[in-house]
Symmetry: C2
Subunit: 207 residues, 2 copies
Amino acid sequence: MPTKKPIRKKPQVTAAPARRRELLDTAAEVFAEQGYNATTVRKIADHAGMLAGSLYYHFDSKESMLEEILRSFLDELWGGYDAVLEAESGPRETLEALVTESFREIDRHRAAVAIYQKESKQLVAQERFAFLAESQRKFEKAWLSTLERGVAAQVFRADLDVRLTYRFVRDTVWVAASWYRPGGQHSPEEIARQYLSMVLDGIAVRE
Amino acid sequence: MPTKKPIRKKPQVTAAPARRRELLDTAAEVFAEQGYNATTVRKIADHAGMLAGSLYYHFDSKESMLEEILRSFLDELWGGYDAVLEAESGPRETLEALVTESFREIDRHRAAVAIYQKESKQLVAQERFAFLAESQRKFEKAWLSTLERGVAAQVFRADLDVRLTYRFVRDTVWVAASWYRPGGQHSPEEIARQYLSMVLDGIAVRE
DNA sequence: ATCCTTCCCTAACAAGTGTTTGGTAGGTTA
DNA sequence: TAACCTACCAAACACTTGTTAGGGAAGGAT
C-alpha cells in the first residue's frame, strides 16, 4: 500500500478571498511606501501581524503578490475606462471623463497606482508581467485617439505635438498618486476639475 | 619600533576625479534603469568592466555613490535655478525660464533626475540624505512664489489652486526624465516650448 | 635598481534574502 | 470521539547581498 503523500492543499486562488485581499492590501501599502525590491517578506508579515513563512500559506511567492495586486488594479481600471470609451462621446467629453475616472482610480487604488508608477518600467521586461505592456498599449491608444479626434474636430489645438501632449497629460494624472491622500482637502472630482481646467484652458489670463 | 599600520590610502574625495566621474556615470545609468535597491554593486562593476570589490577602492559604500550622484546633480541644478531667480524677471518670464532650465537639466542629467524622481521620497527619511529635503523646500518656494507673483500681477488665473497647480507643473516637468532620450526627436528647448504653450494657454481651441 | 603609488583582483565574511518543511492549536465535520 | 481542515508558528535552507582584507601587476619617481 503506497503511503499517501500529504500534499498540502494551499488555498492560493480557490479559497475564501477575504483574508487574501486583506493581506494583499497591506502588502500593497508596504510596496508603495518602500518600493518592491526594498520590501522584504518579513516586513509585510510584520505589518500583517504574522511571520514571514506564514505568508506562503496564502501566496506562493512575493512576486505573485505583486502580480495579483497589479492585475486586480488594472482589471478595475479598465472596467471604468471601457465604460467611458464605449459611451462614444465627443473628444472633449471623453477626455474629461478619462481624467476624472483616473483620479477616482487613484482615490481607490492609491497604493497599486504608486507601485505601477514606480515599478512597471522594470517589470514589463519579465514575461510574467507582459500584461502590463498590453495595458500600456491600450492606454496609449485610448488617449492618443481621443486627442487626435479632438484635433480633427477642431476642439483641440492643431499646433501641439499630439504625442508630447499625451505624455504630459498621462504623467501628470498618474503621478498625483505620489502626493494624493484620500480623505484630504480635495476630492478626486475636484482635483480632476482643476486639472482639466488647467490643461484645457491654460493657467495664463486671457486678454 | 612600532610596526607601521599599512593604512590604505583611498582616493575617495581627493584624488583625480576623472575615473570617479566615469564610474559614477555608469552607476547612475544602472541605478536609473534598475532602481537603486535592485542594483547590486556587482552589476555596477560589470558595467564598468571590473569586479565588485574593486569599486571600494574609489568609494566607501554603495550609498555614498548614490549620495554623490544626487549631490552633484543638485549642485548644478541650483546653479541654473539661482541664475534664473536672481534675474528677477516677471512671473511669466521666470516660469518660462524655470521650465526651460529644467528640461535642460533633464537633458544633461537624465539618469540622476530619474533616480531622484524614484528614490527621493524614501531617501529623505535618512539623515544622510537630508539635503534632499532642503532642496525640495527651496524648490517649492521658488515655484510657488513665482506662481503667486503671477496671480497677484494678474498674468496667471486666480481661480486655480496655486498649490495644486504647482504640483501639476512640477511633476509633469520632471517625469519627462522617464521617457526623454537625449539626441531624440525633440530638443530640450522644443519640449519646453511645447510644454509651456500647453500649460500657459491650454490645449483647447479658443473661440 | 628600488620604492611608491595607482588600480584592480581573489577570496572570503556576516547579514539578510525568499522560500520550504514539519508541526500544531483551534474550530468544523462525520 | 475521531478525523479533518484552516491558518498560523518555529526553524531551518540555499543563495545573494554589501563589504573587507591581502595581494599583485604596471608604471612613474628617486
